[in-house]
Symmetry: C2
Amino acid sequence: MTIITTTIHDIYQARPHVYAHLRPTPLYPYQGLSDLVGGRVFLKHENHQPVGAFKVRGGLNLVAHLTEEQKKGGLFTASTGNHGQSIAFAARAHGVKATIAVPEGANPGKVAAMRGLGAEVIFHGPDFDSARQWIAEVADERGGTFVGPTDEPLIHGVGTYGLEIMEERPEVDVIIVPVGAGSGVCGTAIAAKTINPKIRIIGVQSAQAPTQYQSWAQGRPVEAEMKTIAEGLATRISFANTQAIMKKYLDDFVLVEDSAIEEAVRLLLIHSHNLVEEAGAAPLAAALTLGHVLRGKNIVLVVSGGNISIERLTTIVGG
Amino acid sequence: MTIITTTIHDIYQARPHVYAHLRPTPLYPYQGLSDLVGGRVFLKHENHQPVGAFKVRGGLNLVAHLTEEQKKGGLFTASTGNHGQSIAFAARAHGVKATIAVPEGANPGKVAAMRGLGAEVIFHGPDFDSARQWIAEVADERGGTFVGPTDEPLIHGVGTYGLEIMEERPEVDVIIVPVGAGSGVCGTAIAAKTINPKIRIIGVQSAQAPTQYQSWAQGRPVEAEMKTIAEGLATRISFANTQAIMKKYLDDFVLVEDSAIEEAVRLLLIHSHNLVEEAGAAPLAAALTLGHVLRGKNIVLVVSGGNISIERLTTIVGG
């Protein structure tokens, strides 16, 4: 059994490291979305972060906790998306070198973004898993620090947006959070449930990549097929530490179809004028399926990020 | 000759009224945009405001300066866009009633947004000018306060984003600002030029609605045709007070084609993952035409707002 070591105190301790480089993000109500959902809907705008996603909070906390020797050795990680940009941003903020492995054929825009943030990007292998295994070995050989997707300092850092929600809107009844590797939902749940045990925390994953959901529901690691279009939800495996936290803190976990996620991206463009990536739109898709459970409630949808490509956007709005 | 009465001191005085309800907006660098423009490009994210545009700063300052009697009488204005939402937001924040006239056939989404903010919305007349003239009379009859688009307290309030730029990035060389009625560019120019007289402030308007540009260039009120697709730039007449400030403070004023503005909306989606309305994209369109003037400079593009409709977005990205 995995022991849960993270507490809200870790999140408070992360806060100065996060706010040394970032400001709190907005939490705005939207009338159009409230009308659709049937409760009062607020969006937590993690898409307004530099690099466009919540993960940068975790990266900053992780780098701040490195020893001087670890800083000299540099950070090594693998990513095809927001995690890589976040680690690159945090590393640069602290004058640390970041080396990021991406699979051959990775999105050139994201590679350019990571390089623009000063990271060394290396193409390796046909897929994410092979890039990740390889870069972990490289880190070991070179005396560097490998960063995995659910390392505890990342959970502590991203939990700061959960604290922001609870401080700004103590009247919140429900928070719906997208689940990828699980750092976001775990940080949020620990912050929110510790402050208000009556709050409901609902995770959401794509029905086209349900491994975390199935592992949570069955209480054991389950592998499931992964063919979602939502990059931020595209996990192939479950993670022991985030599963343990979700098992303890999540009130519900729902699956939504990729097609419903795409419709939610469209609705967010119309009603909030925000460009939201697929994972960040999944909470709205979930809210629209939950029906009467949300009626009259104060509901926060965590818009985890905005990094959607113009090709995907064109498909979604252009039909 | 119009006397300029606004100074940076007015903007400092506006600040507590603005920050009682809003946070400073982000000013982020973007590598992809920097590569395109050939200087270091920062976006001032006024599209991250509640109601999605910079004008809310002005509205909050204006309402804060009303007398108790004026507050009781309520605010009256006309708007087809961001101004109306901003006045509605500010009025609600202070418990004041807002009545907003819109022309018959006004965008239902924007009407719903204003009503969602608690404003009374009245349809009147075939176009904006007739709605505006009528609501000014109504305000007079009912003992209310009519708000025009370039009232000085609005300029003082919106100037607070100019101060934010100068405080956060004192190294800025150039600020490019869209010009509608002119409150944004005037507030910015007064703040920035007072702090750093060497900074260059560049206004931008659509070539399809050049009345403010032509009036500025010729030093007298000029009427020009108005057929731009950029709602925030769609002025039919010039304004004496903002023209006087622009005459004194603007280093340059450029016109860009509507087609270049649409391309800039696309480029902002790709490189910043922000949904930006046409007026807010005009500074990027201008930067892309200015060429070597900007090379190696630190350039702020003011993204004045994000309120673009899904129909316009579809046209732009779906082609």
